[in-house]
């Protein structure tokens, strides 16, 4: 089958039930999305399908329905996405393992709602776990990213 990831088409030969996360990491070598749990409990594997955040461990090959974006395709080093810039500004990452999922979740959320309250941010980000406890910085960075997106 053919899939499009970060604007590039790939031909892949995999079982129908292979999770997208496996396809990205093992078949295509795109290792920004991380494996944390495999059962939609952590958010480390979050990518976008047609701009909407999905847990790639839950999307089977047969259910891929649209273009995929991973952290590698969200922005570029010289042209960061507003969420990535805010993450740098607030130095959000600790170990970093959860952060590609956090950023992809935040980017999709802000695309739907670019003026979120603290409560909405907490609700949108609570299903992405961070063992390092960077949550206060995540909340600040989401607010900064929202401001930057609104004034862009």
């Amino acid at each position: 089958m053919q899939i499009t990831v970060n604007g590039n088409q790939h031909e892949i030969d995999v079982e129908d039930d292979m999770p997208l996360l496996w396809i990205l990491r093992d078949e295509l070598g795109i290792t920004g999305p991380k494996y944390g749990c495999g059962i939609a409990q952590c958010g480390a594997c979050t990518v976008h399908v047609e701009g909407i955040a999905v847990r790639s461990c839950q999307v089977r090959a047969a259910d891929i329905d649209g273009e995929i974006t991973t952290i590698e395709g969200l922005g570029q080093p010289d042209a960061l996405h507003a969420v990535q810039s805010a993450w740098v500004e607030h130095q959000v990452a600790q170990c970093g393992y959860c952060q590609s999922g956090q950023i992809m979740q935040a980017a999709s959320f802000l695309d739907q709602n670019d003026d979120p309250s603290d409560e909405e941010i907490d609700s949108a980000m609570s299903s992405n776990l961070c063992r390092c406890g960077t949550y206060p910085r995540i909340r600040k960075a989401v607010k900064t990213a929202a401001e930057n997106l609104r004034s862009a």
Binding site: Q41, Q58, R60, D63, S127
Partner: protein, 211 residues
Amino acid sequence: MIKVFTFGSCLLAITNLACGAQTLTAENKLNEFPAGSVTLEQGLASWQIFYEVASHPRCSNCHVGSSNRPMWSGPSYGKTRPHGMNIKADESRIGVESVPCATCHVTLLQPSENANTMPHTPPRVTAPWALAPVEAEWFGKSSSFICNQLKDPERNGNRTIADVASHLDHDRVLQWAWNPGGNRQSAPYSLQMVMDALMKWSAAGTPCPSE
């Protein structure tokens, strides 16, 4: 600002959920029972069948009120509590404003026997996961409350009981309740029995139990 977005083959918006679900072919039969052929007692017994289903966690967990918070209750969850991870389905009832239900309850493109075999994973069906409309609040509600709600056109989408019964057969999330997979307990009876129970209840004049 909340935007409308498309997900899979479906259009999801704040007040609208339109997708392939409406065009599904029926899998069960809408059996008619002539008015007067069902006694009051049989009608109440038929209602009881429906109530056992409506109050079963497999159904009531997503038939919540204006909290917009799905519930985790029933034997596979231990104690009753709101859906983990601070999940709210929001006013859209599909989570557009925070985390779309479909972020984890991924929409399948094809029906699949083994999509939901693993316990503790989010169930997936061939329709976007969603809460029932807020007017159809069942969680913790009495038999009499749900009975009067179900026959009230203001709260049932302006449907006759036959419309309600056939509507049940066209909803993939609802059908999943009888084949939930993992370690989840199935809803009682079968969808065919529930549709028959509604039609008998209707033929008996939609009697409701007193409180």
